[in-house]
C-alpha cells in the first residue's frame, strides 16, 4: 500500500546495478569456479604448455588456455579469485576494526591516548602502505598470515581519523548529556548511544577502502612479494605470466581485467553508498 506522500527511494543507477551484478558473479566464481574445470589448480601437464584460449587456437579442454607449466588457467583464476576475495574482505575488516577502535578510544579517553593515536596517524600518513609492507616483508619470511595482517593495515589511519572526529562531535550532542544525566554508565553511553550514531561513517569508509585493499594485494603479489606459490592470487598469476606478455597474453590480461573490473565495481558501489548514506561527504555538487 503506497500513497502519494510515501517517500520514493531514488532508483539505483544502471552503472551501480552492473557493478553489483559483476561483484555477485565474481563471488560466485570465487566460490564455485573450480567446479567449472576438471583440472586441479596445481596440476601441471607438460604436453599442454601455453595452450591459447578457445577462439585463439585453443580447445575446450582448457577454455582459457594454460600457463608455462601446463596448468589450467580457468581453475587457477577461480582459486586466485578466492584468495583475492578472502584477502580483500579480511584485510579491509582488520583495518576497519583496528582503525575505528583506535579512533573511538582516542576520542573517548582524550589526553595521552589521543596524543599517541594522532601521532601514529601522522606517521602512517607519511609512509605509503606499500612501502611499510615492503619494509616488513624484507625483515620476515613471507607467510600468508603476515601478508593478511599487512594488507589489513591499509587505510586504518583514515578510519581512526574519521571515527575520532565523529565520536568527538557525537559527545557534544544533547542526547549524550541527557542519557548521562539519567545515570547511564560510560559503557552504555558508548555502546548503545554513540556507536550506533557513528558506525555509518566506518561502514561508508569500508566500501571506499576495499578497492584499495584489492589493488594493494594484487600489486604486492604482482611484485612477487605477496601471495606465494603454490598458493595463488590474481596478482600472482599476472606476475607469473608477465615475462610471456607478448607470446601468452592471456596469462596477464585475463587476471588483469578481472582485477580491474572488481576494483571498478567495488568503487562504483562505494561511491554510491557514500553519496546515499553520508551526504556530508558527497563528492559531487
Amino acid at each position: 500500500m503506497s500513497d502519494a506522500t510515501t517517500y520514493q527511494r531514488p532508483a539505483i543507477p544502471w552503472a551501480v546495478r552492473l557493478a553489483l551484478g559483476f561483484i555477485a558473479v565474481f563471488v560466485l566464481f570465487a566460490l564455485f569456479g573450480q567446479w567449472l574445470s576438471p583440472h586441479e589448480f596445481r596440476a601441471t601437464s607438460l604436453l599442454d604448455r601455453l595452450r591459447p584460449p578457445v577462439g585463439f587456437g585453443g580447445t575446450w579442454d582448457y577454455p582459457l588456455g594454460t600457463d608455462a607449466r601446463g596448468r589450467d588457467l580457468l581453475v587457477r583464476l577461480a582459486v586466485g579469485a578466492q584468495i583475492t576475495l578472502i584477502v580483500a574482505v579480511v584485510g579491509t575488516l582488520i583495518g576497519a576494526v583496528l582503525g575505528s577502535l583506535l579512533g573511538v578510544l582516542a576520542a573517548a579517553r582524550r589526553g595521552f591516548v589521543e596524543t599517541v593515536v594522532v601521532g601514529a596517524v601522522d606517521v602512517q600518513a607519511s609512509l605509503p602502505i606499500i612501502v611499510v609492507a615492503l619494509f616488513v616483508l624484507a625483515m620476515f619470511d613471507s607467510s600468508f598470515t603476515l601478508f593478511l595482517l599487512l594488507i589489513g593495515l591499509t587505510g586504518w589511519e583514515v578510519y581512526a581519523r574519521l571515527m575520532r572526529g565523529a565520536v568527538l562531535s557525537a559527545k557534544e550532542q544533547g542526547y549524550v548529556t541527557a542519557v548521562r544525566a539519567l545515570g547511564a554508565s560510560p559503557y552504555r553511553i558508548y555502546l548503545r548511544h554513540i556507536l550506533p550514531n557513528v558506525v555509518s561513517v566506518a561502514l561508508v569508509q569500508f566500501t571506499v577502502n576495499m578497492p584499495l585493499t584489492v589493488l594493494l594485494e594484487t600489486a604486492l603479489s604482482f611484485l612477487g612479494l605477496g601471495v606465494q606459490s603454490p598458493l595463488t592470487s590474481l596478482g600472482q598469476i599476472m606476475s607469473e605470466g608477465r615475462d610471456r606478455l607478448l607470446t601468452a597474453w592471456w596469462l596477464t590480461l585475463f587476471p588483469g581485467v578481472i582485477i580491474f573490473l572488481l576494483a571498478l565495481s567495488i568503487s562504483l558501489v562505494g561511491d554510491w553508498v557514500r553519496d546515499r548514506f553520508d551526504p556530508t561527504l558527497r563528492s559531487e555538487n
Binding site: S126, V131, F135, M139, L246, T252, L268, E284
Partner: protein, 307 residues
C-alpha cells in the same frame, strides 16, 4: 604567523623522529640485526664481529643514540651485495626516478586540471559524465595492468618495446611509464578540480563580479580558478604518496632503473640496510612535502596569514 610556522616545523620533526625510532625498534627486535646485516652465509665469528661493531652488546639507549648519531652524520649503512653505502646507491638512482615522477606529475596536473575544469563548465552534459567516468576508471585501473597493456600495444601496433632497459632514453619510453604512473592522480585531480570549481562558481563573490560587469572569461580565469586551486595544493601534497607508491610498481613493469625498482630488489634480496635507508628517505620526503604544503598555504591564502 611565526607561531604557526614553528608549530608545523616542530610537528614535522617529531613525526620524522617517531618514524626513525619505529624503524630502529623494528629492526632491533625483528631478529638479530648482526645476522641480518651480515651476508646470509657469514660464519659465526663474522656475525660476532658485526655485533661488536654495531654495538649490540651496549645498553638499549646507547644503541639508540648511537643510531641517531650515525644518521645525523649521514652514515646509513652499507648494502650487503655491493658493499657500497646505501646513500650512494640511492643517489645513483634518484635522477631516473625524479625524471619519471616529475613527468608523471606534470602530465597528471595539466591533463587532470584541464579535464576537471572542462567538466565543471559543462556540468551535466555528456562531456562532464565522460570525465567523471574517466576518473573512476583511472582510480580502479591497477597501474601494473595499464603498464602491461601499454607495452603490449606499443609492441603490436608500433613495433617498439617499451619494457626494456634501453627504452628509458627515448621520448616515448619516458611518456609511456609516466602516463602509467600519473593516471590515478590525473583522475583524482580531474574529479577534485571539477567539484572545487563548481563550488567556487556558486560563491557570492562570483555573483558580485558578474554584477560589476566583469566579462565571463576574466571572471573565470582571475576570480574562479585561483580560488578553486587552493584546496588542490593539499591534494597534490597528498598525492605525492601515491606517486611514490605507484613508482614502485611502474618502475618494475617498465624495468625503469630508479629508486622504486631498487626498493623491490632490495626487499627480495633482504638487503636490510638499503631497505631501511629507502624507507627513511621516503618518509623524510613525504614529511617535508607536507610541511611545504602547509607553509605554501601562507603564501597563497591570505586568510590564513591574517589569523
Amino acid at each position: 604567523m611565526i607561531g604557526f610556522i614553528l608549530s608545523r616545523v616542530a610537528r614535522a620533526i617529531i613525526t620524522l623522529l617517531v618514524t626513525v625510532t619505529l624503524v630502529f625498534v623494528f629492526i632491533r627486535f625483528s631478529g638479530d640485526p648482526a645476522a641480518a646485516l651480515a651476508p646470509p652465509d657469514a660464519p659465526q665469528e663474522v656475525i660476532e664481529q658485526y655485533r661488536r661493531a654495531l654495538g649490540l652488546d651496549q645498553p638499549f639507549w646507547v644503541q639508540y643514540t648511537g643510531y641517531l648519531g650515525r644518521l645525523i652524520q649521514g652514515d646509513f649503512g652499507y648494502s650487503i651485495h655491493s658493499g657500497r653505502p646505501s646513500l650512494q646507491i640511492f643517489l645513483d638512482r634518484l635522477p631516473a626516478t625524479l625524471r619519471l615522477g616529475g613527468t608523471a606529475l606534470l602530465i597528471s596536473l595539466v591533463c587532470g586540471i584541464t579535464l576537471g575544469a572542462v567538466a565543471a563548465l559543462n556540468r551535466g552534459r555528456p562531456i562532464d559524465r565522460g570525465v567523471m567516468a574517466f576518473s573512476v576508471f583511472a582510480f580502479a585501473m591497477p597501474n601494473f595492468l595499464f603498464g602491461l597493456v601499454v607495452i603490449l600495444v606499443g609492441s603490436l601496433a608500433f613495433q617498439v618495446y617499451l619494457g626494456g632497459q634501453g627504452a628509458s632514453s627515448t621520448a616515448l619510453g619516458l611518456i609511456a611509464p609516466a602516463l602509467t604512473l600519473g593516471l590515478a592522480s590525473m583522475g583524482s585531480y580531474a574529479r577534485f578540480t571539477r567539484s572545487s570549481l563548481l563550488e567556487t562558481i556558486n560563491k557570492p563573490f562570483m555573483l558580485a563580479a558578474e554584477a560589476r560587469g566583469i566579462p565571463y572569461k576574466r571572471r573565470l580565469i582571475r576570480h574562479a580558478l585561483p580560488n578553486a586551486a587552493i584546496p588542490l595544493v593539499t591534494l597534490v601534497g597528498l598525492s605525492l604518496g601515491s606517486l611514490i607508491a605507484g613508482s614502485v610498481v611502474t618502475e618494475q613493469v617498465f624495468a625503469w632503473p630508479g629508486v622504486g625498482q631498487l626498493l623491490v630488489r632490495s626487499v627480495a634480496t633482504r638487503d636490510i640496510a638499503t631497505v631501511q635507508f629507502l624507507v627513511l628517505a621516503i618518509a623524510a620526503t613525504m614529511i617535508t612535502a607536507n610541511l611545504i604544503v602547509d607553509l605554501l598555504y601562507l603564501v597563497i591564502d591570505p586568510r590564513i596569514r591574517a589569523k
